[in-house]
Protein backbone atom coordinates (compact mmCIF):
# COMPACT_ATOMS: atom_id res chain seq x y z
CA UNK A 1 0.00 0.00 0.00
CA UNK A 2 1.43 3.35 -0.92
CA UNK A 3 1.02 6.60 0.98
CA UNK A 4 -2.22 7.42 -0.81
CA UNK A 5 -3.78 4.19 0.40
CA UNK A 6 -3.87 2.60 -3.04
CA UNK A 7 -3.08 -1.07 -2.57
CA UNK A 8 -0.63 -2.75 -4.91
CA UNK A 9 -1.60 -5.59 -7.21
CA UNK A 10 -0.16 -8.33 -5.03
CA UNK A 11 -1.84 -6.94 -1.95
CA UNK A 12 -5.17 -6.90 -3.81
CA UNK A 13 -4.62 -10.44 -5.07
CA UNK A 14 -3.90 -11.76 -1.58
CA UNK A 15 -6.89 -9.86 -0.25
CA UNK A 16 -9.23 -11.34 -2.86
CA UNK A 17 -7.80 -14.84 -2.49
CA UNK A 18 -8.24 -14.90 1.29
CA UNK A 19 -11.69 -13.38 0.93
CA UNK A 20 -12.83 -16.09 -1.48
CA UNK A 21 -11.01 -18.96 0.24
CA UNK A 22 -13.15 -21.53 1.98
CA UNK A 23 -10.46 -22.26 4.53
CA UNK A 24 -7.64 -20.29 6.12
CA UNK A 25 -4.52 -20.43 3.95
CA UNK A 26 -0.84 -20.70 4.69
CA UNK A 27 1.70 -18.34 3.13
CA UNK A 28 2.90 -21.20 0.98
CA UNK A 29 -0.59 -22.04 -0.25
CA UNK A 30 -1.15 -18.38 -1.12
CA UNK A 31 2.15 -18.17 -2.97
CA UNK A 32 1.31 -21.32 -4.94
CA UNK A 33 -2.19 -20.10 -5.71
CA UNK A 34 -0.87 -16.79 -7.00
CA UNK A 35 1.26 -18.45 -9.61
CA UNK A 36 4.29 -19.53 -7.65
CA UNK A 37 5.55 -16.20 -6.33
CA UNK A 38 8.02 -15.91 -3.47
CA UNK A 39 6.56 -16.56 0.02
CA UNK A 40 8.42 -13.47 1.20
CA UNK A 41 6.36 -11.33 -1.19
CA UNK A 42 3.18 -12.88 0.18
CA UNK A 43 4.37 -12.13 3.72
CA UNK A 44 4.93 -8.52 2.77
CA UNK A 45 1.46 -8.27 1.26
CA UNK A 46 -0.05 -9.89 4.36
CA UNK A 47 1.73 -7.36 6.58
CA UNK A 48 0.31 -4.46 4.57
CA UNK A 49 -3.14 -6.01 4.58
CA UNK A 50 -2.97 -6.63 8.30
CA UNK A 51 -2.16 -2.96 8.89
CA UNK A 52 -4.87 -1.82 6.56
CA UNK A 53 -7.58 -3.95 8.15
CA UNK A 54 -6.51 -3.27 11.74
CA UNK A 55 -8.87 -0.29 12.02
CA UNK A 56 -11.71 -1.83 10.05
CA UNK A 57 -14.76 -3.96 10.84
CA UNK A 58 -12.98 -7.04 9.55
CA UNK A 59 -9.51 -8.12 10.63
CA UNK A 60 -6.84 -10.20 8.97
CA UNK A 61 -5.74 -12.80 11.47
CA UNK A 62 -3.21 -15.60 11.63
CA UNK A 63 -4.07 -18.80 13.45
CA UNK A 64 -1.61 -21.65 13.42
CA UNK A 65 0.27 -20.21 10.42
CA UNK A 66 -2.96 -19.94 8.44
CA UNK A 67 -4.45 -16.62 7.45
CA UNK A 68 -8.05 -15.56 7.13
CA UNK A 69 -10.41 -12.64 7.57
CA UNK A 70 -12.74 -12.50 10.49
CA UNK A 71 -15.09 -10.05 12.14
CA UNK A 72 -13.35 -7.54 14.43
CA UNK A 73 -13.65 -8.81 18.01
CA UNK A 74 -15.46 -5.68 19.19
CA UNK A 75 -18.16 -6.33 16.58
CA UNK A 76 -18.60 -10.03 17.33
CA UNK A 77 -21.97 -9.26 18.90
CA UNK A 78 -23.24 -8.45 15.37
CA UNK A 79 -22.87 -12.08 14.37
CA UNK A 80 -25.33 -13.27 16.93
CA UNK A 81 -28.23 -11.01 17.60
CA UNK A 82 -30.98 -11.65 20.05
CA UNK A 83 -34.47 -10.86 19.05
CA UNK A 84 -36.98 -10.59 21.84
CA UNK A 85 -40.37 -12.08 21.44
CA UNK A 86 -43.01 -11.30 24.04
CA UNK A 87 -45.37 -14.13 24.88
CA UNK A 88 -48.19 -14.37 27.32
CA UNK A 89 -47.88 -17.03 29.98
CA UNK A 90 -50.25 -19.93 29.36
CA UNK A 91 -53.03 -20.67 31.80
CA UNK A 92 -51.35 -23.85 33.02
CA UNK A 93 -48.11 -22.00 33.71
CA UNK A 94 -49.95 -19.16 35.42
CA UNK A 95 -51.66 -21.66 37.73
CA UNK A 96 -48.39 -23.33 38.61
CA UNK A 97 -46.77 -19.95 39.24
CA UNK A 98 -49.67 -18.88 41.46
CA UNK A 99 -49.43 -22.09 43.48
CA UNK A 100 -45.69 -21.66 43.96
CA UNK A 101 -46.22 -18.03 44.98
CA UNK A 102 -48.93 -18.90 47.53
CA UNK A 103 -47.35 -22.06 48.89
CA UNK A 104 -43.61 -21.71 48.45
CA UNK A 105 -41.40 -23.57 48.85
CA UNK A 106 -43.32 -26.33 47.18
CA UNK A 107 -42.46 -29.57 45.36
CA UNK A 108 -43.83 -30.66 42.03
CA UNK A 109 -45.90 -33.39 43.67
CA UNK A 110 -47.43 -30.78 45.97
CA UNK A 111 -48.19 -28.49 43.05
CA UNK A 112 -49.92 -31.37 41.33
CA UNK A 113 -51.95 -32.27 44.33
CA UNK A 114 -53.12 -28.67 44.67
CA UNK A 115 -53.90 -28.29 40.97
CA UNK A 116 -55.48 -31.72 40.76
CA UNK A 117 -53.74 -32.33 37.42
CA UNK A 118 -50.28 -33.40 36.38
CA UNK A 119 -47.75 -30.71 35.58
CA UNK A 120 -45.32 -31.18 32.75
CA UNK A 121 -41.66 -30.39 33.29
CA UNK A 122 -41.99 -27.92 30.42
CA UNK A 123 -44.27 -25.71 32.48
CA UNK A 124 -41.68 -25.36 35.23
CA UNK A 125 -38.98 -24.78 32.57
CA UNK A 126 -40.93 -21.86 31.17
CA UNK A 127 -41.24 -20.30 34.62
CA UNK A 128 -37.52 -20.80 35.20
CA UNK A 129 -36.75 -19.28 31.80
CA UNK A 130 -38.94 -16.32 32.66
CA UNK A 131 -36.81 -15.98 35.79
CA UNK A 132 -39.83 -16.06 38.10
CA UNK A 133 -39.12 -19.27 39.98
CA UNK A 134 -35.97 -20.90 41.25
CA UNK A 135 -34.89 -24.20 42.77
CA UNK A 136 -35.03 -23.73 46.51
CA UNK A 137 -33.31 -26.92 47.63
CA UNK A 138 -34.82 -30.29 48.39
CA UNK A 139 -37.54 -31.38 50.74
CA UNK A 140 -36.10 -33.71 53.39
CA UNK A 141 -38.62 -36.47 52.79
CA UNK A 142 -38.17 -39.82 51.01
CA UNK A 143 -37.10 -39.19 47.45
CA UNK A 144 -35.80 -35.73 48.45
CA UNK A 145 -37.91 -33.89 45.88
CA UNK A 146 -36.75 -30.57 44.50
CA UNK A 147 -38.72 -27.62 45.84
CA UNK A 148 -39.50 -24.37 44.09
CA UNK A 149 -39.85 -20.78 45.22
CA UNK A 150 -40.37 -17.41 43.54
CA UNK A 151 -37.61 -14.93 42.75
CA UNK A 152 -37.20 -11.17 43.26
CA UNK A 153 -37.87 -10.87 39.50
CA UNK A 154 -41.26 -12.41 40.11
CA UNK A 155 -42.15 -9.75 42.67
CA UNK A 156 -40.82 -7.14 40.28
CA UNK A 157 -42.83 -8.25 37.28
CA UNK A 158 -46.07 -8.50 39.23
CA UNK A 159 -45.52 -5.23 41.07
CA UNK A 160 -45.34 -6.79 44.52
CA UNK A 161 -43.31 -5.51 47.43
CA UNK A 162 -43.31 -8.94 48.97
CA UNK A 163 -45.27 -12.16 48.87
CA UNK A 164 -47.36 -10.86 51.76
CA UNK A 165 -48.95 -8.46 49.25
CA UNK A 166 -50.63 -11.38 47.48
CA UNK A 167 -54.35 -11.22 48.23
CA UNK A 168 -55.51 -13.76 50.81
CA UNK A 169 -58.14 -16.41 50.28
CA UNK A 170 -60.83 -14.24 51.90
CA UNK A 171 -60.03 -11.38 49.56
CA UNK A 172 -60.13 -13.70 46.59
CA UNK A 173 -63.51 -14.92 47.69
CA UNK A 174 -64.74 -11.37 48.17
CA UNK A 175 -63.57 -10.56 44.64
CA UNK A 176 -65.62 -13.51 43.37
CA UNK A 177 -62.47 -15.30 42.28
CA UNK A 178 -63.32 -18.43 44.23
CA UNK A 179 -66.83 -18.54 42.80
CA UNK A 180 -67.42 -21.95 41.23
CA UNK A 181 -69.70 -20.22 38.70
CA UNK A 182 -66.59 -18.58 37.28
CA UNK A 183 -65.19 -21.97 36.73
CA UNK A 184 -68.38 -23.18 35.08
CA UNK A 185 -68.26 -20.10 32.86
CA UNK A 186 -64.64 -20.73 32.10
CA UNK A 187 -65.44 -24.28 31.21
CA UNK A 188 -68.21 -23.14 28.93
CA UNK A 189 -66.17 -20.41 27.33
CA UNK A 190 -63.06 -22.38 26.50
CA UNK A 191 -61.82 -25.89 26.42
CA UNK A 192 -61.89 -28.03 29.47
CA UNK A 193 -59.73 -26.20 31.98
CA UNK A 194 -58.95 -29.45 33.73
CA UNK A 195 -57.65 -30.98 30.58
CA UNK A 196 -54.23 -32.32 31.57
CA UNK A 197 -53.12 -31.97 27.95
CA UNK A 198 -53.05 -28.25 28.35
CA UNK A 199 -49.74 -28.52 30.10
CA UNK A 200 -48.27 -29.98 26.95
CA UNK A 201 -48.26 -26.63 25.23
CA UNK A 202 -45.19 -25.74 27.25
CA UNK A 203 -43.12 -28.75 26.51
CA UNK A 204 -43.22 -32.17 25.08
CA UNK A 205 -41.94 -34.10 28.06
CA UNK A 206 -45.34 -34.46 29.61
CA UNK A 207 -45.60 -37.52 31.83
Amino acid sequence: MNAQGEPGMLERAVEATLFAAEEPMTVEALAAHLGGIEPSEVREALALLGQHYAARGVHLVERGKRWHFETAPDLAHLLRREKEQVRRLSRAATEVLAIIAYHEPVSRAEIESIRGVQTSAGTLDVLMEAGWIRLAGRREVPGRPVIYATTPEFLDHFGLESRRDLPGIDELRAAGLLDPVDEAMEAAMRFDPDDPDEDDEEGSDAP
Partner: protein, 265 residues
Protein backbone atom coordinates in the same frame (compact mmCIF):
# COMPACT_ATOMS: atom_id res chain seq x y z
CA UNK B 1 -34.00 -22.60 -58.86
CA UNK B 2 -31.12 -20.32 -58.14
CA UNK B 3 -31.01 -19.16 -61.75
CA UNK B 4 -34.78 -18.65 -61.86
CA UNK B 5 -34.62 -16.40 -58.86
CA UNK B 6 -32.77 -13.85 -60.91
CA UNK B 7 -30.74 -12.92 -57.90
CA UNK B 8 -27.84 -10.57 -58.45
CA UNK B 9 -24.26 -11.66 -58.50
CA UNK B 10 -23.75 -10.45 -54.96
CA UNK B 11 -26.46 -12.73 -53.71
CA UNK B 12 -25.13 -15.57 -55.76
CA UNK B 13 -21.70 -14.99 -54.31
CA UNK B 14 -23.11 -15.02 -50.82
CA UNK B 15 -24.90 -18.27 -51.48
CA UNK B 16 -21.69 -19.56 -52.91
CA UNK B 17 -19.91 -18.46 -49.76
CA UNK B 18 -22.43 -20.22 -47.63
CA UNK B 19 -21.92 -23.33 -49.65
CA UNK B 20 -18.19 -23.10 -49.20
CA UNK B 21 -18.60 -23.34 -45.45
CA UNK B 22 -21.11 -26.10 -45.79
CA UNK B 23 -19.26 -28.85 -44.04
CA UNK B 24 -19.45 -27.07 -40.71
CA UNK B 25 -22.95 -25.87 -41.46
CA UNK B 26 -24.32 -29.33 -42.09
CA UNK B 27 -22.55 -30.85 -39.18
CA UNK B 28 -24.29 -28.33 -36.98
CA UNK B 29 -27.68 -29.43 -38.18
CA UNK B 30 -28.79 -30.59 -34.77
CA UNK B 31 -27.56 -27.36 -33.27
CA UNK B 32 -30.17 -25.12 -34.87
CA UNK B 33 -32.85 -23.84 -32.63
CA UNK B 34 -35.51 -24.13 -35.31
CA UNK B 35 -35.85 -22.74 -38.84
CA UNK B 36 -35.86 -19.10 -37.72
CA UNK B 37 -32.53 -19.68 -36.05
CA UNK B 38 -31.14 -21.19 -39.23
CA UNK B 39 -32.51 -18.27 -41.25
CA UNK B 40 -30.88 -15.83 -38.87
CA UNK B 41 -27.55 -17.55 -39.26
CA UNK B 42 -27.89 -17.49 -43.03
CA UNK B 43 -28.86 -13.82 -42.88
CA UNK B 44 -25.76 -13.11 -40.85
CA UNK B 45 -23.71 -14.54 -43.69
CA UNK B 46 -24.90 -11.65 -45.84
CA UNK B 47 -22.68 -9.59 -43.56
CA UNK B 48 -24.99 -6.59 -43.60
CA UNK B 49 -27.25 -5.03 -41.02
CA UNK B 50 -30.33 -7.18 -40.55
CA UNK B 51 -32.39 -4.18 -41.69
CA UNK B 52 -30.70 -4.33 -45.07
CA UNK B 53 -30.69 -8.02 -45.77
CA UNK B 54 -32.04 -9.24 -49.07
CA UNK B 55 -35.00 -11.43 -48.33
CA UNK B 56 -34.87 -12.94 -51.78
CA UNK B 57 -31.26 -13.91 -51.34
CA UNK B 58 -32.05 -15.28 -47.91
CA UNK B 59 -34.88 -17.39 -49.31
CA UNK B 60 -32.51 -18.83 -51.88
CA UNK B 61 -29.88 -19.56 -49.30
CA UNK B 62 -32.39 -21.37 -47.14
CA UNK B 63 -33.87 -23.38 -49.98
CA UNK B 64 -30.41 -24.33 -51.18
CA UNK B 65 -29.49 -25.42 -47.73
CA UNK B 66 -32.57 -27.57 -47.39
CA UNK B 67 -32.01 -29.08 -50.83
CA UNK B 68 -28.46 -30.00 -50.01
CA UNK B 69 -29.50 -31.45 -46.70
CA UNK B 70 -32.04 -33.54 -48.59
CA UNK B 71 -29.39 -34.65 -51.06
CA UNK B 72 -27.20 -35.74 -48.18
CA UNK B 73 -30.18 -37.72 -46.85
CA UNK B 74 -30.13 -35.82 -43.60
CA UNK B 75 -33.33 -36.06 -41.73
CA UNK B 76 -34.92 -32.64 -41.40
CA UNK B 77 -37.55 -31.85 -38.85
CA UNK B 78 -40.96 -31.00 -40.27
CA UNK B 79 -40.83 -27.35 -39.28
CA UNK B 80 -37.74 -26.80 -41.46
CA UNK B 81 -39.66 -28.19 -44.42
CA UNK B 82 -42.73 -26.09 -43.59
CA UNK B 83 -40.52 -23.00 -43.53
CA UNK B 84 -39.00 -24.02 -46.87
CA UNK B 85 -42.44 -24.33 -48.45
CA UNK B 86 -43.51 -21.01 -47.03
CA UNK B 87 -40.36 -19.28 -48.24
CA UNK B 88 -40.82 -20.75 -51.72
CA UNK B 89 -44.33 -19.32 -51.73
CA UNK B 90 -43.04 -15.95 -50.49
CA UNK B 91 -40.40 -15.85 -53.18
CA UNK B 92 -42.87 -16.54 -55.99
CA UNK B 93 -45.27 -13.95 -54.57
CA UNK B 94 -42.48 -11.37 -54.41
CA UNK B 95 -41.70 -12.00 -58.04
CA UNK B 96 -45.34 -11.86 -59.20
CA UNK B 97 -46.69 -8.72 -60.86
CA UNK B 98 -48.12 -6.30 -58.28
CA UNK B 99 -51.79 -6.36 -59.29
CA UNK B 100 -52.16 -10.07 -58.54
CA UNK B 101 -51.03 -9.69 -54.96
CA UNK B 102 -53.14 -10.80 -52.08
CA UNK B 103 -53.60 -9.34 -48.67
CA UNK B 104 -51.33 -9.38 -46.76
CA UNK B 105 -48.95 -8.47 -49.52
CA UNK B 106 -45.74 -10.47 -49.94
CA UNK B 107 -43.85 -7.29 -49.02
CA UNK B 108 -45.64 -7.28 -45.70
CA UNK B 109 -44.81 -10.94 -45.17
CA UNK B 110 -41.19 -10.25 -46.03
CA UNK B 111 -41.11 -7.29 -43.68
CA UNK B 112 -42.61 -9.40 -40.91
CA UNK B 113 -39.96 -12.06 -41.44
CA UNK B 114 -37.28 -9.40 -41.35
CA UNK B 115 -38.67 -7.94 -38.12
CA UNK B 116 -38.72 -11.36 -36.54
CA UNK B 117 -35.14 -12.01 -37.55
CA UNK B 118 -34.11 -8.64 -36.13
CA UNK B 119 -35.74 -9.47 -32.82
CA UNK B 120 -34.24 -12.91 -32.60
CA UNK B 121 -30.88 -11.46 -33.60
CA UNK B 122 -31.14 -8.81 -30.91
CA UNK B 123 -31.86 -11.43 -28.26
CA UNK B 124 -29.07 -13.68 -29.44
CA UNK B 125 -26.62 -10.81 -29.10
CA UNK B 126 -28.07 -9.78 -25.77
CA UNK B 127 -27.69 -13.35 -24.51
CA UNK B 128 -24.06 -13.42 -25.58
CA UNK B 129 -23.36 -10.10 -23.87
CA UNK B 130 -25.16 -11.28 -20.76
CA UNK B 131 -23.12 -14.47 -20.60
CA UNK B 132 -19.96 -12.45 -21.10
CA UNK B 133 -20.50 -10.39 -17.97
CA UNK B 134 -18.50 -10.83 -14.80
CA UNK B 135 -20.37 -13.73 -13.33
CA UNK B 136 -20.32 -14.88 -9.74
CA UNK B 137 -18.40 -18.13 -9.43
CA UNK B 138 -16.54 -17.55 -12.69
CA UNK B 139 -15.17 -14.02 -12.68
CA UNK B 140 -16.00 -12.68 -9.28
CA UNK B 141 -16.24 -14.63 -6.06
CA UNK B 142 -18.17 -14.28 -2.86
CA UNK B 143 -16.70 -14.73 0.56
CA UNK B 144 -15.66 -18.36 0.78
CA UNK B 145 -16.41 -18.90 4.42
CA UNK B 146 -18.79 -16.27 5.74
CA UNK B 147 -19.29 -16.47 9.49
CA UNK B 148 -23.02 -16.13 8.96
CA UNK B 149 -25.42 -13.94 10.83
CA UNK B 150 -27.59 -15.54 13.45
CA UNK B 151 -30.62 -14.15 15.11
CA UNK B 152 -31.51 -15.95 18.28
CA UNK B 153 -35.08 -15.58 19.35
CA UNK B 154 -35.46 -14.98 23.02
CA UNK B 155 -38.85 -15.28 24.59
CA UNK B 156 -39.83 -12.68 27.10
CA UNK B 157 -42.71 -13.96 29.18
CA UNK B 158 -45.48 -11.67 30.25
CA UNK B 159 -48.26 -12.03 32.76
CA UNK B 160 -50.00 -9.81 35.27
CA UNK B 161 -51.33 -9.78 38.79
CA UNK B 162 -54.93 -10.33 37.84
CA UNK B 163 -54.11 -13.38 35.74
CA UNK B 164 -52.09 -14.73 38.66
CA UNK B 165 -54.71 -14.40 41.37
CA UNK B 166 -57.49 -15.42 39.01
CA UNK B 167 -55.56 -18.60 38.22
CA UNK B 168 -55.08 -19.27 41.91
CA UNK B 169 -58.75 -18.62 42.59
CA UNK B 170 -59.68 -21.10 39.92
CA UNK B 171 -57.34 -23.74 41.26
CA UNK B 172 -58.83 -23.30 44.71
CA UNK B 173 -62.37 -23.27 43.42
CA UNK B 174 -61.75 -26.34 41.31
CA UNK B 175 -60.22 -28.38 44.07
CA UNK B 176 -62.35 -27.17 47.01
CA UNK B 177 -64.68 -29.85 48.45
CA UNK B 178 -68.16 -29.33 47.05
CA UNK B 179 -71.54 -29.71 48.76
CA UNK B 180 -74.38 -30.45 46.44
CA UNK B 181 -77.96 -29.71 47.46
CA UNK B 182 -81.20 -29.98 45.54
CA UNK B 183 -83.64 -27.11 46.06
CA UNK B 184 -87.01 -28.08 47.53
CA UNK B 185 -89.43 -26.89 44.91
CA UNK B 186 -93.22 -26.89 45.31
CA UNK B 187 -94.74 -29.50 43.02
CA UNK B 188 -98.06 -31.27 42.59
CA UNK B 189 -97.51 -34.95 41.94
CA UNK B 190 -99.40 -36.81 39.24
CA UNK B 191 -101.11 -38.97 41.85
CA UNK B 192 -102.51 -36.04 43.76
CA UNK B 193 -103.57 -34.35 40.50
CA UNK B 194 -105.40 -37.52 39.43
CA UNK B 195 -107.13 -37.58 42.76
CA UNK B 196 -108.09 -33.90 42.58
CA UNK B 197 -109.35 -34.02 38.98
CA UNK B 198 -111.36 -37.26 39.54
CA UNK B 199 -112.91 -35.79 42.64
CA UNK B 200 -113.94 -32.60 40.90
CA UNK B 201 -115.29 -34.46 37.87
CA UNK B 202 -117.69 -36.18 40.23
CA UNK B 203 -119.29 -32.84 41.09
CA UNK B 204 -120.90 -32.07 37.74
CA UNK B 205 -121.61 -33.41 34.24
CA UNK B 206 -120.99 -30.01 32.66
CA UNK B 207 -117.88 -28.92 30.75
CA UNK B 208 -115.30 -27.32 33.02
CA UNK B 209 -112.07 -25.54 32.18
CA UNK B 210 -109.02 -27.46 33.34
CA UNK B 211 -107.71 -24.20 34.78
CA UNK B 212 -110.55 -24.36 37.33
CA UNK B 213 -109.10 -27.56 38.76
CA UNK B 214 -106.00 -25.78 40.00
CA UNK B 215 -105.53 -24.85 43.63
CA UNK B 216 -106.88 -21.29 43.76
CA UNK B 217 -104.23 -19.46 45.81
CA UNK B 218 -101.10 -21.38 44.87
CA UNK B 219 -97.82 -19.53 44.21
CA UNK B 220 -96.81 -19.33 40.50
CA UNK B 221 -94.26 -22.17 40.68
CA UNK B 222 -96.83 -24.50 42.24
CA UNK B 223 -99.48 -23.36 39.74
CA UNK B 224 -97.27 -24.30 36.81
CA UNK B 225 -96.58 -27.68 38.33
CA UNK B 226 -100.29 -28.20 39.12
CA UNK B 227 -101.30 -27.25 35.56
CA UNK B 228 -98.87 -29.73 34.07
CA UNK B 229 -99.89 -32.51 36.44
CA UNK B 230 -103.62 -31.79 35.97
CA UNK B 231 -103.22 -31.92 32.19
CA UNK B 232 -101.51 -35.27 32.37
CA UNK B 233 -104.19 -36.45 34.84
CA UNK B 234 -106.91 -35.32 32.39
CA UNK B 235 -105.25 -37.28 29.57
CA UNK B 236 -105.04 -40.30 31.84
CA UNK B 237 -108.74 -40.07 32.75
CA UNK B 238 -109.68 -39.72 29.08
CA UNK B 239 -107.64 -42.80 28.32
CA UNK B 240 -109.49 -44.71 31.01
CA UNK B 241 -112.77 -43.61 29.43
CA UNK B 242 -113.82 -41.63 32.44
CA UNK B 243 -113.64 -38.13 30.92
CA UNK B 244 -113.63 -36.37 27.57
CA UNK B 245 -111.57 -33.36 26.54
CA UNK B 246 -112.34 -30.51 24.20
CA UNK B 247 -110.41 -27.50 22.94
CA UNK B 248 -111.72 -24.99 20.38
CA UNK B 249 -108.35 -24.18 18.96
CA UNK B 250 -104.64 -24.03 19.68
CA UNK B 251 -103.99 -22.41 23.06
CA UNK B 252 -107.73 -22.09 23.64
CA UNK B 253 -108.97 -23.12 27.12
CA UNK B 254 -108.85 -26.88 27.56
CA UNK B 255 -112.20 -28.18 28.79
CA UNK B 256 -113.04 -31.47 30.47
CA UNK B 257 -116.25 -33.20 31.54
CA UNK B 258 -117.24 -36.52 33.00
CA UNK B 259 -118.19 -39.20 30.54
CA UNK B 260 -121.63 -40.68 31.38
CA UNK B 261 -121.50 -44.26 32.61
CA UNK B 262 -121.82 -46.74 29.81
CA UNK B 263 -121.20 -44.17 27.04
CA UNK B 264 -117.92 -45.77 26.19
CA UNK B 265 -119.14 -49.31 26.36
Amino acid sequence: MLADAGAGSTDAALVQGAQAGDEALYLELDGWEGPLDLLLDLARRQKVDLRQISILALVDQYLTYIERAGAMRLELAADYLVMAAWLAYLKSALLLPKEEQEDPSPEELALRLQLRLQRLGAMREAAARLMGRDRIGRDVFLRGAPEGLRTDRKTVWRSDMFALIQAYGQVKARTAPRIYHVANRPVMTLDSALERVSAMLGVTLEWMEIRDFLPPHAEPALRRSALASSFVAALELARRGRAELAQDGAFAPLRIRRLKEGATA
